[in-house]
């Protein structure tokens, strides 16, 4: 009998680390360099592995798994092409600050740098699109590295962290112990906001005459939707949520003025521009949100900016009161001081401001032709919202359908709206829906997509079959790369260069070929019935191909480079 600590292989250690982190699902695809890891997965039943059809599907699914839950998404792929296939997905997660840990196989340490089969410089290729990455050269460093990876991914401004594991490291053995705590001298994210700055901000908020609350994805990531709702409701101020922040404040409340920006509402953009105090919370003054920064700066207003990342502050817009800290923590303190303070908002000024906003709102900027003989894409989204009671998880791809989903599905809860905001990656919709469905087994998950985007990852319909993921795909099929066509119409003299796809597949047959239910809907009168029927098929994946009006555009629109209030409200403005 020996009393020595048991020696585990690197692969067994990696699997044990994931178990210790409470990981339940790993999205991946095997290959030569990760065979030991897959062998270790085979010998346990705590982690469930989801085998996708293309590595890009794995990384997007892990990303959405994280977006829709409070967990870190985990993805596992092999070296070389396995890695290059996930770069788009890593960049997508990085742009939206999504916590993910990606384990990649690498050729054995002795072969690194020798152009070995399926070798690529993984750490080098991914460096600009990860929060951090590691190459583990010694099995003794593996457990600590994975611990660090999870810690870095989920704390501070979250983001993807990659751990590259050479094949020999995965079969070398050492004793395993997983550190309970970790400290890094080079990484200490700030949590508490500066007390003096918070006090100053509260005074500014309470003495505003035309206040505006502008909340972004940081609210969702920090799980601070409850606090945001409480603050807005206490103050009675108007609130806008960015594309990444939808659901942060309840859209069904009249204080919600819609999304701001390029395809934001008239009232949100005018309030952003004309307010006297702008409270930016977990938002980054993105070019799609504030339009031309010089035009935005023309209007005098004081800006408070709460963000966990100091580099987001005064990056595109100079702010007056920066508060670096965890959004949830800072908001709790702001609420405490607002409630305890003696100053009350100026009720008369606020009433006048709301009167102005209601006047802007009465332009009804999201109106569309409800009598059309063609299916209007907006109508499909509205019906989905109605029939799911506003309570579905909705993923989208990128383009016109994404904007219509954001405008017409009114999200009341955080983590329900899953889309690629920063990078704008076409193809995410279906793998996103898979990731969400894995995280929320019994929830209704709808993927609003277009006939172009869906074809970028359509192979994942096969994964949906294997794992019986009852995703509902709503394909808003207008035959065009719609957003490209819209820009070409407006800015390129209607020269529709390569924005029309001939020879689309028969999506009904395609869905059926993958073992799913396919439907084609051609008339507005059939929209509601089809969605109802699809929702009734609780355990089936249903592909609804809606043939929509090919000429419909997303309104309102602020053209790129224009000021936020130079809005086109419809084709009559062209």
């Amino acid at each position: 009998m020996t009393t020595e600590t048991p020696q585990l292989t690197g692969a067994e250690i990696a699997v044990r680390c994931l178990q210790e982190e409470g990981v339940e699902h790993v999205f991946g695809y095997p290959g030569g360099s990760v065979l030991y890891l897959y062998d270790a997965l085979f010998n346990q039943d705590i982690l469930k592995h989801i085998l996708v059809r293309h590595e890009q599907g794995a990384v997007h699914a892990a990303d959405a798994y994280a977006r829709s839950s409070e967990k870190v998404g985990v993805c596992l792929v092999t070296s070389g092409p396995g890695v290059t296939n996930i770069v788009t997905g890593i960049a997508t997660a990085y742009m939206d600050s999504i916590p993910m840990v990606i384990l990649t196989g690498q050729v054995p340490t002795h072969a690194i740098g020798l152009d070995a089969f399926q070798e690529c410089d993984t750490v080098g290729i991914t460096r600009p699109v990860v929060k951090h990455n590691f190459l583990v050269k010694d099995v003794k460093d593996l457990a600590l590295t994975i611990k660090k990876a999870f810690y870095i991914a989920r704390t501070g401004r979250p983001g993807p962290v990659l751990v590259d594991i050479p094949k020999d490291v995965s079969f070398h053995k050492c004793a395993f112990s997983y550190p309970a705590q970790i400290e890094m001298r080079s990484y200490n994210p700030v949590i508490k906001g500066h007390a003096g700055q918070i006090k100053k901000a509260v005074q500014m908020i309470l003495s505003a005459k035309r206040p505006m609350i502008y909340a972004g994805g940081g609210v969702i990531l920090a799980d601070a939707a409850k606090e945001l709702n409480q603050l807005v409701d206490t103050l009675g101020y108007p609130c806008t949520n960015t594309l990444m922040g939808l659901g942060g404040y309840k859209a069904s409340d009249s204080k919600f003025v819609g999304m701001p920006g390029m395809h934001g509402t008239y009232e949100a953009n005018l309030a952003m521009q004309n307010c006297d105090v702008l409270v930016a919370i977990g938002a980054r003054f993105d070019d799609r949100v504030i339009g031309n920064p010089a035009d935005f700066a023309k209007h005098q207003r004081q800006i408070i900016h709460i963000d966990i990342d100091p580099s987001s502050i005064s990056k595109r817009v100079k702010v007056d009161v920066p508060i670096v800290g965890d959004v949830k923590d800072v908001l709790q303190e702001v609420i405490r001081q607002v409630e305890a303070g003696s100053i009350r908002p100026d009720a008369q000024a606020l009433a006048d401001w709301w009167k102005q906003i209601e006047e802007w709102r009465s332009r009804d900027c999201l109106k569309y032709d409800r009598k059309s003989a063609k299916i209007k894409p907006q109508y499909v989204v509205e019906k989905l919202w109605e029939l799911t009671g506003g309570d579905a998880y909705v993923t989208s791809d990128v383009g016109q359908h994404q904007m219509w989903a954001a405008q017409f599905y009114r999200f009341d809860k955080p983590r329900r709206w899953i889309n690629s905001g920063g990078l704008g990656t076409m193809g995410v919709g279906l793998p996103y829906a898979m990731g969400v469905q894995m995280a929320h087994k019994d929830a209704t998950v709808a993927c609003i997509t277009g006939e172009a985007s869906i074809q970028m990852c359509i192979q994942e319909l096969s994964t949906c079959k294997q794992y019986r993921l009852p995703v509902k795909v709503l394909n808003l099929n207008n035959g065009y790369l719609g957003m490209v066509r819209q820009w070409q119409q407006i800015e390129y003299g209607s020269r529709y260069s390569e924005s029309y796809m001939d020879a689309l597949p028969d999506f009904v047959k395609l869905a059926e070929a993958y073992g799913h239910v396919g439907m084609q809907i051609t008339k507005p009168a059939d929209v509601e019935g089809a969605i109802r029927e699809a929702l009734k098929l609780k355990d089936r994946c249903v592909f609804m191909d809606f043939l929509t009006d090919p000429k419909e555009n997303v309104w309102p629109m602020v053209q790129a480079g224009k000021g936020l209030t130079s809005m086109l409200l419809g084709s009559e403005d062209l």
């Binding site: 750490v123 460096r127 951090h132 190459l135 100091p310 580099s311 005064s314």
Partner: protein, 164 residues
């Protein structure tokens, strides 16, 4: 646009340099010079970067450097009193009457001749950037065979210390 000298303490890990260099190229920031070597604590490297930019850009640079996971500390030395030095090695043609003149110039600039052949001198010179530039200006350009400069290293004056 102002010249800034930024000091960084960074974990002495493989790839640390490329993270810093990659940040500058990805965000379009300018690097005039960059020097790096381990400190007395071999787990840490000290880097000095000279960059030219507006105040806003330099602020973004220091924020983004701080955001790198391996970076332990960042300080913009130009915000306070500091000393900077750079090492230059110059190989010059030294024949005939120019041989004596070159030796004299090296002495004036407090340089040292560290390698001699019958046709050349190699002169070692340290100082701030302006002094090294001045030496180049002072000697006959046609005699310069080769120059190599390290880029600036900087340190705060007095009690100002950059340490973990």
């Amino acid at each position: 646009m102002k010249r800034h000298i930024i000091s960084i303490l960074i974990e002495n890990e493989a790839g640390a340099l490329s993270r810093v260099a990659g940040l500058f190229s990805a965000r379009g920031y300018n690097i005039e010079t960059l020097t790096v070597a381990p400190t007395e604590d071999p787990s840490l490297s000290r880097m000095t970067i000279v960059s030219v930019g507006s105040d806003d850009v330099i602020e973004q640079i220091t924020k983004h450097l701080n955001r790198l996971i391996d970076v332990v500390k960042v300080v913009d030395l130009s915000e306070g009193a500091h000393i900077e030095r750079e090492l230059m090695l110059v190989k010059v043609r030294a024949t005939g009457k120019e041989r004596e003149e070159m030796k004299r110039m090296a002495e004036i600039f407090r340089g040292r001749i560290i390698d001699v052949t019958d046709k050349t001198y190699t002169i070692e010179l340290t100082g701030d950037v302006a002094k090294l530039d001045a030496f180049i200006e002072a000697i006959d350009r046609a005699l310069i065979l080769e120059t190599v400069r390290t880029g600036a290293s900087g340190i705060g004056r007095g009690e100002r210390v950059l340490k973990v």
